[in-house]
Every structure is written in C-alpha cells, then in structure tokens.
Symmetry: C2
Subunit: 321 residues, 2 copies
C-alpha cells in the first residue's frame, strides 16, 4: 500500500474535523528573541485528550468498516495513543481495549478509563504487553490499531500540519518531535506537497536516537531500552514511517535530556502553557541550532501537554536554572 | 475626582492597545461540564509581563505629563504591579524605581530588573517598605504609582472586560478575583455600562477576606497579615475601589485555600495553561456555587500566570487529588 497522498490527508481532515479542536498557532516575542527566529507554535497540547494522537486515532477508528468496528479496537500503550484511541472509540460508539502495565501512573489509567475503555493489565515488559494483547485478540477479536505504523494514523497526524500551513504562509522550516514517526511522516507528506520550499526537520532525544541512527544507516535501527524523560518518544520508527522520513526529512537533531527539560521549563514560564517533554524537544533542538535559523520563519508542532504535575522534571534540575 | 466613566476606559484602551496583547478568550468542555455552566476564560495569564497589571500600569505611565514622567515612577511591591510598572516605564523611556523586600524570590527580582527598573531593597515589613519609598521620594522625587487606588489604574484594568464584552455577548455573569480591587472595580465599571444585565461577582481567598467583610460592614476593613497562597490578593480594598465595588458588585465569594489549589491544578491539567493561585480563586468560587450557576454564561477573568515552578502548592496537597 502506498504512503498517504495529500488527498488522503484532506479526507482525514474532513472525517475528524467535527470531533477535534482546531488548535491555535501561538507566537511569543520572548521565544523569538531567544532563538533569533520567528516561531509559530501549533498547540496540539490543547488538542482533545491533550495531544495530536487523537487525529490519527479518530481517522483510523472512523475509517473502519462496520464489521471491523463492531469487534472493538485495541492497543497496548500507556500513553497518549491509548487515551486517544479510547476517546475515538467512544465517539464512534464502539468498545476499546487497552493493554497497559500494572505500574502505569494512576493519572494515565484514570484518563483511559475515563474515556470508557476496558483496561487489561500486564507485567511491565514489552513481551508481556504483546502476549497479553495477543491473548485478547484471540479471545475477543478486536481490531488492533498500531500507534503509528498505519497509513490511516499517518494521514490523521498529517492534519495538524495541514492546519498549520493554512494558518501560516511562507514557512522556511517545520519541526516536529520524532518517536515512532507518525507525526513526522504525516507532517512531511503534507508540507512537502503544500509548501515544497519548506525544510522539514525533526527533534529527537539523544537518549532515544533511533531515528537519527536509522537515517544515517539507511535502515531501521530500533532503540534498545531508551531512557529519556520524553516518554512519547521512546518508540522506534516503523516500516511505514521510515521510508517517508528518509525521503522528506532534511535532518534529525538530537537533544540531550537537560536541554529537553530546560526547553520545557522555558515554554511553561514564558508562554504560560503546559507542554510535555516530548513536545519541548523541538525547542531544545532549535536553541541548539540558533546560528542556522537566524531570521527564519519556523513552524513548531507542540505535540502534547500531558504531564504528571506531581513529578516535574526540574525538581532534580533545580540548580541548572 | 469621580470614578472613571466608560469614556475613560475607552481612552485607556486606545492608549495601551499598541503595547499590550489582546488576550484570547478560551473555552473548555471539561470545565463547562464540571461547573454545569458555559465558561469564557479571559486569559490575562498570557498578557505582557504575565498578568493584567500591565493594563493599569501602562495607562497610568502614558497618562503622566512630561514633568511627572521625567522624574521617573516608583512603587513598593514584589509582585505583578512592580514588573508591569517597570515594563511600562521602559516603553515610555523613563526610569522606574521598585522598592522590594530583600527576601523577595530571585525569579521576581530578575523579572523587574530584566525590564530595566532600579531595585531598592528594604526589610520585609510594610513599615520598612513605606519608609524606604518615602526616603526615595524625598531624594529622587519619582512619581509614585499606587497598584490599585488610582483612577488611571482602575480605568486601565477595566480594558480587559472591554475586550471580553466585545468577544462574548450575553454574559449572565462576570467574575474576577479581588485583592485591592483594581481589576474588580474596572471590570464593574465596564460591564455595568456595556452589559447592564450581567451580574458582577468576585472571588476572594477566605484567608484574605477583607473585601467580603468590608462589603458586609459598609466600610473598609483591611486584612491583617493575611495568609493565603494567592499572593496577588493579600492587599486590602482602597478608598477609590471600595465605593465602586459597593455599588456594582452583587457578591463576593470567599474560597478556602484547598479549593484555590485544587482549582489551579484543574486549570493546569484540563486547560493546559498556567495560571497563578490568584487567578484560580475564580474557578474555586464557581465550583462552590455550582447549583447557582447552572446553564449560565459566565465570563471569568484569569488574572495572571506568574508562579514559581520550583514551589508548586500541590506538593503538600498531593493526597487530596
């Protein structure tokens, strides 16, 4: 199956528009001054369920035929995809099953349960997650929705860039975080069509630099046990996202943990908005490349705002600031 | 001198418009569901210098004649008014002096100094503040700008409600926090003229309930050593703000500390925006009056977003949530 075309991203937009927020694009003088560039922040932290993930999940759930939908949907995740899938399933009026480790934060369990999903607990290992999901599929036969390695998901995630390109013209650059590559590949497909001169960049934690290494090597090199605070970016590129990224993305900038935390704090302090570490990695990348972006117009996708307010990263980093 | 008329508030708006942000009005389904009402949040946390205070400070600084302005402006404050006055003075190109206690948080000193004001340190008592300011006035003769008991300040603060009334029609109620009463009296003057059917309410910390008690008693009863986390609301009503509030404000709702903290956390979690405790007291008041506001359209002025991210209130309150 071919990668989504712009047409598919338009269709996704039409499908999900009635359900999701058209998120605002914010600007901030202090941030512009800091980076020496003009930054346009697409605020997916204000999106339904707190992250861009609802775009792909909603597109996919509403693309299922009635037979697939009738069996319900399932995923294994403790993050934003799980909450998004649960919410999209509720909108369609179908069942959602979410496999998550027993040790998942209470706040995340609550979000998923709050959207009406059935949670199936497993041990906190990838093997246990996959086995538990496989058992579930055998027993209940739900339609499994992968968090990024699915063209419907990719097309859905591309709608954020569609809105950004509508709202802001003549961008010199667009930057998104990269984890599994759903947001990045959707953005790349959209922006390369609508604004071919715009350079497409990505930001990745240094401690989970599989995308960076995969692009260098020309093949997918998965992360092994990545240890980054950017919990949304611990996943590795998939077979569908990798070739799109390989084709369209100019460069992946890796960002050390301290820079991610500092960028997150600066966004909170200066913009008065809450973003999660996975979103802040973009600003961390831009500040590291200040000299390359001087005077440029840059679209920045702030991917999400789901954080645990009882466990903020700068407690330990206090002396840095 | 009479209280400001709508004309004065319009003039203030024209004066400050080129400098300040037209802040957005946000809505949030989760908050509406929680309160059983339709809430329109006027986001002054996104305002220049992080709070509505710049409106009054800017109006006052740009209302000075060249002689008054030439001597510079001064205040004693460690809060949002000090930062706002410093920034407004910078815009006009005049000197600002800020008297603040030595033990003021580094982050607040930095903000004021960052806007170019000269800081004069004093001991952390009201007497020392006032003496130090008096000495300064004797020596340098700056024009002292009171944080709220000044009709130019009141008119400036009223411009937030002016924008809110432009953006949202048919409000059943408007609610603001009350400290010294600048924001509340400016809001009351504006809303009572532009939308006479709209009920004007205020929210005040139970631990700093001077406005509540003053309205009951029919005379100003200052707070004595108030202990509330809402640091912007520890001041007491002034001679100019009290009669306006007495005339136009239906009721002052007092809010316990735990409700302020909980409301602040809910706004952060659900709206993904950063507000300070003084702003959150409004939501605390609304949730306490859920049955009275059912189905109503309510304008809520979120007054500011300046918090110390190293000292968030829910650390101690963790078990509550």
């Amino acid at each position: 199956m071919d990668a989504p075309a712009l047409k598919n991203i338009w269709e996704a937009r039409r499908k999900i528009e009635p359900f999701i927020h058209r998120t605002p694009v914010l600007t901030c003088r202090a941030m512009d001054d800091m980076c020496g560039a003009r930054l346009f922040f697409k605020c997916e932290n204000f999106q339904k369920a707190g992250a861009f993930k609802i775009r792909g999940a909603c597109n996919t759930v509403f693309s299922l035929d009635s037979k697939e939908a009738g069996r319900g949907v399932a995923t294994h995740s403790s993050g934003n995809h799980a909450a998004a899938l649960a919410l999209a399933a509720r909108w369609r009026g179908i069942k959602a099953f979410v496999v998550m480790p027993e040790n998942t934060l209470a706040v995340k369990k609550k979000a998923v349960a709050g959207y009406g999903a059935e949670i199936i607990y497993c041990a906190p290992t990838l093997e246990s997650r996959e086995e538990t999901l496989a058992d579930l599929v055998k027993e209940r036969q739900p339609t499994v929705i992968h968090p990024y390695n699915d063209h419907r998901i990719i097309a859905g995630q591309g709608t954020a860039a569609l809105e950004l390109c509508d709202d802001v013209k003549d961008l010199d650059m667009v930057i998104t975080p990269v984890g599994g590559g759903g947001l990045l590949s959707g953005t790349a497909l959209t922006v390369s069509e609508l604004s071919p001169k715009t350079v497409i960049m990505a930001a990745e934690p240094e401690q989970a630099d599989d995308a960076f290494r995969s692009l260098q090597a020309g093949r997918i090199i998965p992360s092994v046990n990545p240890r980054t605070i950017a919990d949304g970016l611990r996943t590795s590129l998939g077979e569908l996202t990798f070739p799109i990224i390989q084709r369209y993305v100019r460069e992946i900038i890796t960002v050390p943990e301290t820079d991610i935390i500092q960028a997150m704090r600066i966004i909170w302090e200066r913009m008065k908005i809450i973003v999660e570490p996975s979103a802040a990695v973009t600003l961390g990348a831009l500040t590291a490349r200040r000299s390359d972006i001087n005077g440029k117009r840059i679209g920045v996708i702030l991917s999400g705002g789901n954080v645990d307010l009882d466990d903020l990263p700068w407690k330990a980093e206090r002396s840095t600031f």
